[in-house]
Symmetry: C2
Subunit: 340 residues, 2 copies
DNA sequence: CACCACGCTGCAAGCGTTTGCAGTCCGACT
DNA sequence: AGTCGGACTGCAAACGCTTGCAGCGTGGTG
């Protein structure tokens, strides 16, 4: 028999399937005679019995599965998060179903639909937009969920992400300390909470430190991509003078800034310091190595998964918004203004 | 009712659940009166009915799910492959369950176990080793599978990967054309088919082109990592003189070579040309931008998934080993020996 | 006119588990 | 000695769907 069933085990152990079921399930095991339980366990072991989660799921309406909604796995920001989620789920015997929305709300909708039809017990969402109709619907249908990395307004669900404000402040302080007075921000899209939080934090930091500030020192990109970052910096540079440093909304945007430096023959860091956000892999191999704000992405994933599991198991510690600490990784893309 | 069941639909449409089932399933729809079918469809639509794949799976012993076994999602080589697999599966209504083995056979075994218990219909394996007991077992238990990126000896399953030999030849030819005569190879582990295939191809190419060759010009790393690559190149450089170029087993190993250049103050490309393999993202941002062999990774994923689906649906075109074409991306890490 | 074939629909079993309920047995208590 | 309670175990239904088989009515054929 390719896959022994509970019935097979029961027969082999000379008990009723119900008894076998109870013996096999850790929390009902107490109901059955210790000796019998042992025997069942042993037989199950011998036969190589593996419970069929599908059948179990049908009965219990649980699938031991959650959905993980990300924009694009190919974006280096996400693999660590995914990995973190999977690792945390694995401990609990859960599995993640991953979908890539490519940032398309339509696609997102159908994908979430398909996740739900697959009976996922909860959702980890990495695609939140500030205003997000789909999430509002989901909230109403009260399927447990947690947002990572970005959050949506008016959604109760827990959120796990980096402490954007602290991270940005780290970056700005670092640049100020190097002597920069005129620092610009190439922000991420205002449609994402991360974009606005970082922009706001940037504004606060420069003001607080008494540095130059004003709308001409901020530009917001339409996307979190290299291309958009490049476009952003171009626009910014065309609109103002004397900028010696830029804080990018994230590493991808920072890469776009690198491209602009190359195309305009601006020396980084001597003429323009750049700092990124996220510390994605291989940044230390860039020309120059990118100074950036490091974020514990894997931990974001594990924390999010754990929060979700708690929600599923009713252990409602109702932990809201976990903000994970960031740190600054100083590399070669920042230097005192005008070279040393 | 939160989730309308087939029964609900049937009742609402005034038919028996069996009829509703047939009407809803595209390939049994012909069995039911066109008018009735339409009605059922309409009602289902109205009620927002979504079939419960768990129940269906229980009955049909199909889960519409496959397992995807990779070493580590965090390795930039894999996201594109995963993405390809997912995209191809999505079309067919299938989903992938992803597991990370971290290269640990023990872990791999238990993870595959858990996949099987989740009733995956097939497996895409990206962790193949030349000698791979687990895969042999799986083959015996004849669960459909396909290997990507690496293959195992003695396994019948189809394989989808880059044309390693052609890719390496491209690299060697390129270097020869630049004037290099003494080219070394920092190979990937001999436990992986990719490692040995590329090493063999390298040997063939240098010989064929009449370049220097010999065992002192080849070193094989213990892992596909930056660290192992660095160790490999150090060892090689310590063992021989006059090497002006190296072909790395993959990009990660090439990165390790970069590290050695930095630590030994060897100028790349003027003193040492380096070429990688895979063309993972952001290589163009390195110092210097890495010349590498580009591989259609996403396509590897889609092709593999399609092959697996064919196997599942019995469309046994028995397509074996698909070798995808590679191309050379010339960037800044290669130059004529001794500078221009 | 009887019969058959065919198109459609309903019946019911069953996929592998879980679980409320009911039974059995035995030791202990009154 | 009779009864009660407790510890186990078995019974059977149910989860939502698919599918072989049988039933029904209709139209066509011999």
């Amino acid at each position: 028999m390719p896959n022994p069933t509970l019935r097979d085990v029961a027969d082999a152990a000379g008990v009723h399937p119900a008894t076998a079921s109870r013996a096999l399930n850790a929390n009902t095991r107490a109901l059955v005679n210790a000796e019998t339980a042992r025997r069942v366990l042993r037989v199950a072991e011998q036969l190589g019995y593996r419970p069929n989660p599908i059948a179990r799921g049908l009965k219990t309406a649980k699938s031991a599965t959650i959905g993980l909604v990300i924009p694009d796995l190919t974006n280096p920001l996400f693999p660590p998060i995914v990995r973190g989620v999977e690792d945390a789920l694995e401990e609990a015997g859960y599995t993640a179903l991953i979908v890539n929305t490519d940032g398309d709300p339509e696609r997102e909708r159908t994908l979430v639909e398909s996740l739900r039809s697959r009976q996922v017990e909860g959702l980890v969402i990495a695609t939140a937009l500030v205003h997000h109709p789909l999430l509002e619907e989901l909230q109403r249908s009260d399927i447990p969920m947690v947002m990572v990395n970005r959050r949506a307004e008016g959604i109760e669900a827990p959120y796990v992400g980096p402490d954007d404000a602290a991270g940005i402040e780290l970056a700005v302080r670092h640049l100020a300390q190097l002597g920069h007075r005129r620092i610009a921000h190439v922000a991420g899209p205002a449609t994402t909470s991360t974009g606005v939080a970082r922009a706001r934090a940037f504004g606060g930091a420069v003001r607080e430190l008494g540095l130059d500030h004003g709308p001409e020192l901020m530009v917001t990109c339409t996307q979190w991509t290299e291309g958009a970052g490049a476009a952003g910096l171009r626009q910014l540079l065309d609109g103002t003078e004397g900028v010696t440093a830029v804080v990018a909304g994230n590493d991808l945007i920072a890469l776009g800034c690198y491209d602009v430096c190359a195309e305009r023959r601006i020396d980084c860091p001597d003429e323009l310091s750049i700092v990124g956000f996220n510390d994605m892999p291989f940044l230390d191999k860039l020309r120059p190595p990118l100074t950036t704000v490091s974020v514990p992405n894997t931990q974001i994933g594990t924390d999010a998964a754990r929060l979700l599991l708690e929600a599923l198991h009713g252990t409602d510690r109702s932990a809201r918004s976990v903000l994970l600490p960031t740190s600054l990784v100083e590399r070669g893309s920042t230097a005192p203004p005008g070279g040393r």
